[in-house]
Structures are given as structure tokens and as C-alpha cells.
């Protein structure tokens, strides 16, 4: 978390220890343009309710148009039933909340939200179970937008234009991941170029962190540095520049030794100028 990260960096500064921080953030999920709603709903549900929403790269909230939302809600319902059955609490594939403290935190968010619960909302304190829940009509200043949800609650915000949606995302801290669901590559490209995030994945969730060829890390308050695969090696290594010079060509070196006559300075300026940068010396 960010509070602990601040203390870690402050402690590390005493010994000038370099740090890599893998934090979190509210990962937005934008759904715009032409879209295969069923496929999108399946991937969104899988990514969001995987481990009951308790993963650092889970889609935190959804931004889409009203029409998309109206098409998405029944799709989400049917996919949730397909995955977890009619009684999700009995399904062995649905997780529980990690601790009583977090259960209480999430229940409080549900109580304080000004939005409407349209799917789920059931809970069982003893079992630390919260049903996969979808909330609509919450405002920008809602309790659900105050902190990273890290639970099985999915707020959907309706924003008619893609540009306003991008502004919404940019008004908040840079997230660890950003998702876009769209069949139109122009939509994907626009969002990718106009926003900043740790990682980015279009038409899917979480899987970008499974590729060891891609650096996994945050930016801004979502983290500092990256790792996975070769990037881990680089993060934990110091790139030591080693230059092996020989004894030859010492005469050329006299250019850099004093006394600096006007002639020498002219040559020096030429060797170090932009067009002919070299290390002849």
C-alpha cells in the first residue's frame, strides 16, 4: 500500500538503498465502440471476480455509455450464473475475503455508496463471503471511488463520450493497469495514447502480467520500477560501464592535456561537437 511504501522509501533513503515498489491503484476498464458484449462480459467477469477481486490488477471500475451498460448488465448476470451457478456461495470456484477487517471495509463501502446494487449484494459475515456485486449510478465522489476496492464489487459509471471518459481516468492517480474493451482499434489506440498506467491490456484483464517478456510495474502512485523475466534481472542488477583502454595512440591524447593553446582548443571543440562525437582521445 502507499502509506507503507512511503515509510519503506524513507527508511531506504538512510542507506541510499534503491527500491522497487509494486503498489496498486484503481484500474479502470473502458468499454466503448463496437463490442462483442458476451465475450467482453466473460473476460471482465473472470478478471474482476478472480480471487474475489483481490488482485492488484483486477479491473476496479467500468466506464461505458448508457446503452453499453444496458446491454452489459444482463450479459454479466448470465456469465456470473454460468461461472458460479445460481448460488455462488456454494460454488467451490469463488473465493472469500481475506480477513474480517477487509470484509468490514468492503461492507462499509457497500453501505456508504450512493449507487444502486443491481446484481448480487448478498454477504455472510461468518463465511467472509460477499456475492459478486455490480453497482450502478454512483457519482465520481462516491465512497467506491475513494480507494482501491480490492473486492468483488464492480461499479459501472456511465460516460457518453470516450474523451470525457479519458478525462475521468486522468483526473485520478495513475493506475497499475488500464483495460479497454473494444472491437475498434482506433478506440484502443486513443485510450492507450492519452492515458498513463503501469500496464495496459485491451479486450482482456490481468493476462498482460503473465507474459514474462513484458515489464510489470506501476507508475506514479501505483509503483516504481518493474520486474518479471529479464526485467527482474535488470532491476536487481547494477549496469556497470567498463571501458578498457589501451596504451596506444598516446599522441592523440595530448589534445586533452594542458597547456591549452588556441589550436588545441579548436581541435578539442571539433572532437566533442555533436556531429563528430568520438572517443579518439
Amino acid at each position: 500500500s502507499q502509506a507503507v511504501a512511503r515509510s519503506v522509501v524513507q527508511a531506504a533513503s538512510v542507506y541510499l538503498t534503491p527500491v522497487t515498489l509494486e503498489l496498486g491503484g484503481k484500474c479502470p476498464c473502458l468499454i466503448y465502440g463496437r463490442i462483442n458484449i458476451q465475450a467482453a462480459a466473460q473476460r471482465l467477469v473472470w478478471a474482476k471476480f478472480f480471487n474475489a477481486g483481490q488482485s492488484c490488477v483486477a479491473p476496479d471500475y467500468v466506464l461505458c455509455t448508457e446503452a453499453t451498460r444496458d446491454a452489459l448488465l444482463p450479459a454479466l448476470s448470465s456469465v456470473l450464473e454460468q461461472f458460479y451457478g445460481k448460488e455462488p456461495q456454494k460454488c467451490p470456484d469463488l473465493s472469500r475475503i481475506v480477513s474480517a477487517r477487509h470484509f468490514t471495509r468492503l461492507m462499509k463501502l457497500l453501505e456508504q455508496t450512493k449507487g444502486k446494487v443491481v446484481i448480487g449484494g448478498e454477504s455472510d459475515q461468518e463465511d467472509k463471503y460477499i456475492a459478486p456485486t455490480v453497482v450502478v449510478d454512483a457519482g465520481d465522489d462516491d465512497a467506491l471511488m475513494a480507494e482501491e476496492i480490492f473486492g468483488p464489487i464492480l461499479p459501472i459509471f456511465t460516460v457518453e463520450e470516450l474523451e470525457k471518459s479519458i478525462e475521468f481516468v486522468n483526473r485520478h492517480e495513475k493506475p497499475l493497469a488500464l483495460y479497454v474493451f473494444s472491437d475498434e482499434s482506433s478506440v484502443v489506440k486513443t485510450v492507450m495514447e492519452k492515458t498513463s498506467s503501469g500496464g495496459f491490456c485491451s479486450n482482456d484483464g490481468i493476462v498482460h502480467m503473465t507474459l514474462p517478456g513484458l515489464p510489470f510495474g506501476g507508475v506514479g502512485t501505483s509503483g516504481w520500477g518493474s520486474y518479471h523475466g529479464r526485467w527482474s534481472f535488470e532491476t536487481f542488477s547494477h549496469r556497470r560501464a567498463c571501458m578498457m583502454r589501451g596504451w596506444a595512440l598516446e599522441r592523440l591524447n595530448t589534445l586533452r592535456y594542458p597547456p591549452y593553446t588556441e589550436d588545441k582548443l579548436k581541435w578539442l571543440r571539433w572532437t566533442t561537437s555533436q556531429q563528430s562525437s568520438c572517443s579518439l582521445m
Partner: protein, 343 residues
């Protein structure tokens, strides 16, 4: 640019990245201030850059290069050779060669040379003068407080625990510390904080390699000083107390950028995804495990061997196919060849 109070005000603000060049004391404060906003930092600090001279190298040329590097800008560069490590048998020669080179560079009186600098301010002048307290220099030692001038100075047989060896000199004072051999020099360097640069003067490639492998530093230049700074393809930066992060050339771009991993997927081939969706059962899990073990994404040595053999077989098959096709097409060249053979 500004003083302490302006910098402290600046550090309260939020930036995307802070790049600091200076000493480690302030470097620690910069990092602590950056922690408040979780701002990534790049620190280019300093340290005592050791300069080891092997007894079997060309001492005269080594001393020329060291003299240049040490006294350029009056020793006030972060990568100036801070002190020399050499065996006592060549110490005398090192001093003589430096003395001779100084005469060549700055003349008999460096104070009159237009190419010799001054100490940046009175505070640092006093600091460097106090470092020399109690030592008799073998070269130089003269100073003039009104001009903040300190002559190029060399001190020999400096004890390792002296004050001169505790902090970065950042001035025209060059202490020589004697060591018994290269191993002793390596231990000496490793007992201290990691420096920004390490200089090795030696003609034996194996010995150079060993010294580089058994020590650590921000950068290394062998048989010269400071030149690794000039190659923009080399990353320039410190390690440990000498700094974090690196820059120059493309490394600057990488350092000040965020590597954003972007995975562009399409919504097609959704049926493949069923392996990861719940409800999960044994069969699905097994199928997923098999897919993960597939040589297509496995990175073990076995896969490499398989890949190489498959490539060779594939090329072999391709060549065979081409030969067969050529013969079947009955091209003139092959006919001539066979005709010639049977003649």
C-alpha cells in the same frame, strides 16, 4: 538553481521524477523528500574513486593520464581519481612521473597557468586545506586563500585511516596509499563504500578481469581515467552510496520513461479461454497444465535442444524437397550434369 531553502520548498512539490547530482548527504534528504509523493529518483552522487597502478604497467603513461584526470577543474569532478593505490616499490617513480607531468602541463608555477583552476569557494578551500593538516606533501602544497588557490599536491604513504581517506577530497590533493599487491588493493577497495568510478592501470588482461569481477563500482575505466563518462552508449551511474539509476544517451531516455507493457488482444478465439473460466474441473485443469508445459512456451534447455534439432531437420527436409522438385522439373542444369557424368 537556488540555495537550501529554495530546494527544500521545491522538494515539497510533486514531480514525476527527481534527478539529483551532488553529495550523498543531500542525496539522502532528496530521497526522503521524494518518498512523500512516491516520486522515483535518480541520484548521481560521488565517492572516493580509487586508482590502482600495477607495478608492471607503463607507469609513466599511467601517471600522465592520472595527472590530467586528477587536476582537471582542480580535482572538482565527481569521477576524478580520488587516491592512488600502488606497491611501495613504484611509489617513488609515480611521484616523479606526476611531478614531471605537472611541469609539462602547468609549468613551474601552476598559479600562473591559465589552464589551472581554483577551488569553488572559501568553504571548500578551508575544507581541503584542513584535510592536508599534519602531512608533508612531496609535490606542491602551496596555497593562496585570497585566490582560493591550492597547488597540485601529492602526498605519499598516507595511512588508510586518516581523515584524508574518509571523505571525498574533491580537490587537487592526491594521496598515495601503498598496498602489498593486487589482492590487498581489492580488499582495500571492498572494505570501503562502493565508489562512482574505479580506475585500473595494468597490462595483464587476466588481472584486470579479476579486479573488475572482485570489486564493484559505478563504472570502470582501465588504463585511463574518466573516459567511460564520454561514451554515450555506456550507462553512467553509481551504485550503493555513489548513487542509483544511470543515464547518458539512450539510458537517459529509459531512466526518465516508464516502460508501459501494452497487450493488445482481440475478442476472437473466445473458446480457447474456456480453460481458465470457472466452473473448474479436473479435466480442464489437466488440459491447462498440458498447454503450459508445451514446448512452445517452455524455456528449459530440453526445449532449446528440441528446437535446434527441429530446425536442422526442417532445413534438411526443405533442401531435399527443393532438390526433388528441381530434378522432377527436369531443369537443363541437372540434365547436363548427369549427361556429363556418364560420358
Amino acid at each position: 538553481m537556488g540555495g537550501v531553502s529554495e530546494t527544500q520548498q521545491l522538494l515539497r512539490l510533486r514531480f514525476d521524477h527527481i534527478f539529483y547530482t551532488g553529495g550523498s548527504t543531500v542525496g539522502k534528504q532528496v530521497m526522503e523528500a521524494a518518498a512523500r509523493h512516491l516520486t522515483p529518483v535518480t541520484l548521481e552522487l560521488g565517492g572516493k574513486s580509487p586508482c590502482y597502478i600495477d607495478k608492471n604497467c607503463d607507469v609513466r603513461m599511467a601517471c600522465r593520464r592520472i595527472t590530467w584526470g586528477k587536476f582537471v577543474n582542480c580535482g572538482q569532478t565527481c569521477i576524478a581519481p580520488d587516491y592512488i593505490l600502488c606497491e611501495s616499490c613504484i611509489q617513488g617513480r609515480v611521484v616523479e612521473c606526476i611531478r614531471h607531468t605537472l611541469l609539462e602541463f602547468y609549468g613551474a608555477d601552476p598559479k600562473c597557468s591559465p589552464d589551472y583552476g581554483r577551488i569553488i569557494n572559501q568553504r571548500h578551500f578551508n575544507r581541503i586545506m584542513s584535510l592536508m593538516d599534519g602531512y608533508t606533501p612531496v609535490v606542491g602544497g602551496q596555497s593562496d586563500s585570497s585566490q582560493c588557490y591550492i597547488a597540485p599536491t601529492v602526498l605519499k604513504d598516507v595511512p588508510p585511516h586518516s581523515r584524508l581517506m574518509q571523505e571525498e577530497i574533491f580537490g587537487p590533493v592526491l594521496p598515495i596509499v601503498t598496498v602489498s599487491d593486487m589482492d590487498d588493493a581489492i580488499n582495500f577497495i571492498n572494505e570501503r563504500e562502493k565508489p562512482l568510478a574505479l580506475y585500473i592501470f595494468c597490462s595483464d588482461k587476466k588481472a584486470i578481469k579479476r579486479m573488475i569481477e572482485e570489486t564493484t563500482s559505478g563504472g570502470v575505466t582501465v588504463n585511463d581515467v574518466m573516459m567511460h563518462y564520454t561514451l554515450s552508449s555506456l550507462p553512467f551511474g553509481g551504485v550503493g552510496q555513489s548513487g542509483m539509476g544511470c543515464y547518458h544517451g539512450k539510458h537517459t531516455f529509459d531512466q526518465l520513461s516508464h516502460h508501459r507493457a501494452c497487450l493488445i488482444r482481440s475478442l476472437n478465439m473466445e473458446s480457447v479461454n474456456r480453460a481458465r473460466y470457472p466452473p473448474q474441473d479436473r479435466r480442464r485443469a489437466q488440459r491447462a497444465r498440458m498447454a503450459l508445459k508445451s514446448p512452445l512456451i517452455d524455456t528449459s534447455k530440453r526445449t532449446l535442444v528440441w528446437a535446434v534439432i527441429a530446425t536442422i531437420l526442417g532445413i534438411g527436409l526443405f533442401i531435399t524437397l527443393m532438390v526433388i522438385l528441381l530434378i522432377a522439373a527436369g531443369l537443363n542444369c541437372t540434365c547436363w550434369y548427369w549427361r556429363g557424368f556418364y560420358n
